[in-house]
């Protein structure tokens, strides 16, 4: 049976540092757009950290939440694509075939998580910044929609390596760039078809929830709600 990739994000560990955001830029050749285009909502961050303030001073609290493509099992972005650029892979990823994409942006309109980013112009890297580009990831040009791939290049490399060595993939062997960088180990990636994987185990936590689960998208990412302190004045 094919692997079924999924992720668990523990919001009790996440401290909003955004190492995942920078790591994703570096791994996936996401171009920066500059201040003027950023002001027009054209900045691209396949993963972003949302923050929610609650209360008024002095009783203020903040919650962080990294949001990336939820790799939905019932993905609203997929059926609306007229060219089958958005499609479902056998391993459960919401794939995006860049050279099928004609830029209708229907998928972005359909996505309730706002995690699809459109290339309004060709990316520019002031030389020699282009030398930082990851040769394993294609650069997206004008008119193409792009999104989080769960670092599919790392998944494929890991699978090929394991196959070449005639062995099974080990749990935790494949890590998307965001998971790899996370300083609090808030993000865990793994095979949900393997009940023994750490991701499967954590996904069953009583703190587990799905982002906008009520809209029926069946996301592959489980968020573990922020916990609270259970102690007392006299332990």
């Amino acid at each position: 049976m094919a692997h079924q990739w999924g992720m668990v994000i523990d919001l009790d560990r996440c401290n909003g540092c955004e190492a995942c955001v920078a790591a994703c830029h570096a791994e996936n050749n996401i171009s920066t757009v500059g201040d003027e285009q950023a002001a027009l909502s054209r900045a691209k961050h396949w993963i972003r950290v949302e923050r929610y303030y609650e209360g008024e001073f002095p009783d203020v609290s903040v919650k962080f939440m990294p949001v990336l493509c939820q790799q939905c099992d019932a993905a609203p972005c997929e059926p609306v694509c007229p060219t089958f650029a958005s499609y479902h892979t056998s391993e459960g990823l919401n794939g995006q075939v860049y050279n099928r994409c004609i830029g209708t942006r229907y998928c972005a309109n359909a996505c309730p998580y706002v995690v699809r980013y459109f290339n309004f112009f060709n990316p520019v890297w002031d030389k020699p910044l282009h030398l930082q580009l990851n040769p394993d990831v294609s650069v997206r040009e004008v008119g193409v929609m792009e999104k989080c791939t769960f670092c599919v290049q790392r998944i494929k490399a890991g699978e090929v390596q394991a196959a070449a060595e005639k062995r099974e993939l080990k749990d935790g062997e494949i890590q998307p760039a965001c998971v790899q960088s996370c300083p609090t180990k808030a993000m865990v990636f793994g095979d949900l078809s393997d009940p023994e994987s750490e991701a499967s185990r954590l996904a069953g936590s009583s703190r587990g929830t799905k982002l906008l689960g009520e809209v029926g998208t069946r996301p592959r990412i489980t968020y573990l709600q922020r916990d609270s302190w259970h102690g007392s004045e006299n332990a």
């Binding site: 961050h45 001073f57 903040v62 919650k63 930082q132 609090t184 180990k185 004045e233």
Partner: protein, 749 residues
């Protein structure tokens, strides 16, 4: 993929690459990493060290073959070479254990920055005009030599100064030894968010002049006074690892984390209880907690040991700090103080941390000493779950000394005839009243080793650009973040892209050409030879069990990215010193009349730009700030109620004025900032720092009062009062906001 296998493959090249050539320094200094390990399409992971902040995290650099346009021997060509493609934490390194912060991730762009200096330059117009012309290394070194030999032979009266970022390891040894050889010599380490105050306090309380290593992972109760320890303070990746473990790494056991600060920081946002306090009142809160613990006999006063003796009234149980007496002064409810004190005492091990703005008030040293005493009382010193002090090794050479960045900066460097600069930008990051720019203008000769033109290096007469960290040998001995002895080393991860030379190599070359005692004091031909010497010493001291001889020890260290002890240190207190007087309650002093300047001004370290030294990286400019989601600019945080009173709306351009200057930036209505506090991130507002940062945003440092932390001379950067007013329409670029709302500029389209 097993990274360690790759590491073995990459097996450290540089060691075998020491070229024999002596005569021509061109051949002596530029050494190439052999490229035989390059297979097209296959990545090789090489160890390196992150140098972007003082934490000293270990890196693995993913290098792959690529084609780069480079100039070699004056000719432009396309070279197939190993190129760094991605930075990750080194899983074996004890500080960061494979993890990295966003700044570390973006370090790649330092190497590939389009505005990096590509070779030596000499000034070609008035100072500060930005006019430079290219010059060869031989001529550049001749110019430096003539200036320095005049100083040495006393042809020229006056002194020598060497200003750098904080350095460690053999790089520090070489720089300090070089500087010490001149008669009137000043050696200054510049850091805006420096750790002087915390070091002074820890020396007094515990006998260790070091920042603490916080063992969060095993703690059950964490009290932080102002320290943004998950963002930028001390060793943020090590502390984040500990934080994750303390929250969810121990099944059934979860610590409580309380943060006291006047503005909710990224770290405060993750607290279980965030408690605002008046700026500068952190020490008083710590002593009030101590009062409750002593008065209710939850811990004996004596358990604080020497750290307690430094506090007046400690042995009487701190009667002046009873919660009901100081509650209004510190801006808290008395019952909150009492409750937190009882909770902390009931959840052993508990630990207290102090840093950032709490130590950057005029009473910063008092605040730090007070928190140290509380820590001692809670038993959080030298124990698992508390603070520890990193053991040191004898890997470094002769003991060296340097001054830190204080109000004395201008007068110290003013006497210099020759000033050398390395990765320090005091013109940007000092209050105007310190007169840094004017002092530098009077120095006849300035040479800079930095890779970029910034506000300070723009004043140089000669640019001698260093390699980027990934192109250079590096060594480091982190001072916090792990209880193990850690000595990092890394050979170059890739060949230099440009016509640059490693700063320590240039200094060694110059020292040998100057001859005399200096040449004897710096016997090494190259920087890597100096590092090897220190590792040979380390082998004799500690490494006998791990390698059969010094050569194998050195080779293993290069493969792993350093050497670290197997055991953790149990270093507890070493007595402490009584040199610091206990003193009375040191209430904070603020610059500016409260009537005319009603708000406290709170600058804070930017998660993306740190102290501003990373504002030139486009990835950092476009990564949204965690709390505000602002990109590409500065913002001013105002409490919504204060803003309403002043008629300020989100995004309005406001002017923040102190007695010493004013700045303009768009307003951000922030629920987590106290109504009497105006906060702004440090980092932007560069006048001259590459195409991405120049002329962008505002620099909060430019309006700071020249106030000093009493007892240390460090800048009290949180001690300025300001007024604020709306001046017009501003432009705030928000990532979060712009996801759902069209920006006002768009509406007419």
């Amino acid at each position: 993929m097993e990274r360690r296998d790759f590491l073995k493959i990459s097996a450290v090249a540089g060691a075998t690459a020491a070229l024999e050539g002596c005569g021509n320094p061109d051949h002596q200094l530029i050494r190439f990493v052999p490229e035989e390990d390059l297979i097209p399409g296959i990545a090789t992971w090489k160890p390196s060290i992150c140098t972007l902040c003082p934490a000293g995290c270990g890196l693995l650099v993913r290098t792959m073959q690529g084609e780069a346009e480079v100039i070699r021997n004056g000719q432009l060509g396309l070279l197939k070479m190993g190129l760094a493609k991605k930075l990750e934490g080194n899983p074996a390194h004890p500080i960061n254990q494979g993890k990295l912060c966003p700044r570390g991730q973006a370090g790649l762009q330092v190497t590939y920055h389009p505005d990096r200096l590509k070779g030596p330059l000499v000034r070609n117009g008035p100072r500060g005009s930005g006019q430079f012309r290219e010059i060869g290394w031989d001529d550049a070194i001749k110019q430096l030599l003539s200036q320095l030999s005049d100083l040495q032979t006393n042809k020229q009266e006056g002194g020598f100064a060497f200003v750098t970022s904080p350095l460690r390891g053999q790089r520090k040894t070489i720089v300090d030894t070089f500087a010490a050889s001149f008669k009137h010599s000043a050696r200054i380490e510049f850091a805006f968010f420096g750790d002087n105050v915390i070091r002074a306090a820890n020396a007094a309380s515990f006998g260790h002049a070091l920042p603490p290593t916080v063992d969060l992972g095993q703690s059950n109760y964490v009290i932080s006074f102002g320290a943004d320890f998950l963002g930028t303070w001390n060793s943020p990746v090590a502390q984040s690892l500990g934080f994750g473990h303390m929250r969810k790494g121990r099944p059934g056991q979860r610590a409580k984390f309380v943060q006291f600060e006047p503005r909710i920081s990224q770290t405060g946002a993750s607290a279980d209880e965030w408690v605002p306090v008046k700026p500068g009142a952190e020490g008083a809160v710590a002593l009030s907690l101590a009062h409750v613990i002593i008065a209710e006999k939850l811990r004996p006063a004596a358990s604080a040991g020497h750290a307690g003796s430094l506090i007046e009234g400690w042995w009487q149980g701190l009667p002046d700090y009873a919660p009901e007496k100081i509650a209004s002064e510190v801006g808290m409810k008395p019952e909150t103080i009492a409750r937190i004190a009882r909770e902390a005492a009931a959840h052993d091990p508990a630990v207290a941390i102090v840093g950032d703005a709490a130590t950057a008030q005029t009473n910063g040293l008092f605040n730090a000493l007070a928190v140290n005493a509380l820590n001692g009382l809670l038993g959080g010193v030298g124990k698992p779950g508390g603070i520890l002090f990193a053991p040191s090794s004898s890997a470094k050479g002769a003991p060296t000394s340097s001054q830190s960045f204080t109000s004395q900066f201008a007068s110290t460097v003013a006497a210099a005839k020759v000033l050398l600069l390395f990765n320090a930008n005091p013109v940007f990051a000092a209050p105007a009243a310190w007169g840094v720019r004017a002092a530098l203008d009077k120095i006849p000769f300035i040479a800079s080793f930095g890779s970029f033109i910034n506000e300070t290096s723009a004043l140089a007469d000669l640019m001698l650009p260093d390699h980027s960290p990934l192109e250079s040998w590096l060594d480091d001995e982190p001072v916090s973040g792990s209880a193990k002895t850690v000595v990092s080393v890394a050979p170059p991860a890739m060949n230099p892209l440009h016509n640059t030379r490693a700063m320590p190599d240039v200094l060694l070359d110059v020292a040998h050409q100057l001859g005399g005692d200096l040449a004897k004091a710096l016997p090494w031909k190259t920087y890597d030879e100096a590092i090897q010497t220190s590792f040979t010493a380390l082998y004799k001291e500690k490494g006998n069990k791990t390698a059969k001889d010094a050569d194998e020890f050195w080779k293993n260290a290069q493969e792993r990215g350093g050497w670290w002890s197997a055991e953790e240190s149990k270093s507890a207190t070493a007595g402490g010193s009584s040199a610091v007087s206990a003193g009375k309650v040191k209430a904070p002093q603020f610059d500016g009349d409260p009537g005319q300047y009603p708000y406290h001004f709170l600058p804070f370290a930017s998660q993306m730009f740190y102290d501003g030294s990373l504002a030139h990286l486009p990835w950092m400019q476009e990564t949204p700030d965690p709390l505000s989601t602002v990109m590409w600019g500065t913002w001013v945080e105002i409490n919504p109620r204060t803003a309403e009173k002043l008629g300020i709306k989100q995004g309005d351009l406001v002017e923040v004025a102190s007695q010493h200057g004013k700045l303009r930036a768009p307003a951000l209505l922030a629920p987590g900032v106290a109504p009497d506090v105006i906060a702004a991130p440090v980092g932007q507002g560069h006048e001259n720092f590459t195409r991405y940062a120049t002329g962008r945003g505002a620099n909060p440092i430019s309006i700071l009062a020249p106030a000093a932390v009493e007892g240390t001379g460090s800048l009290a950067w949180a001690a300025t009062r300001v007024k604020v007013a709306r001046v017009g329409k501003g432009k705030l670029i928000l990532f979060g906001g712009s996801l759902t709302e069209a920006s006002p500029e768009l509406k007419h389209r």
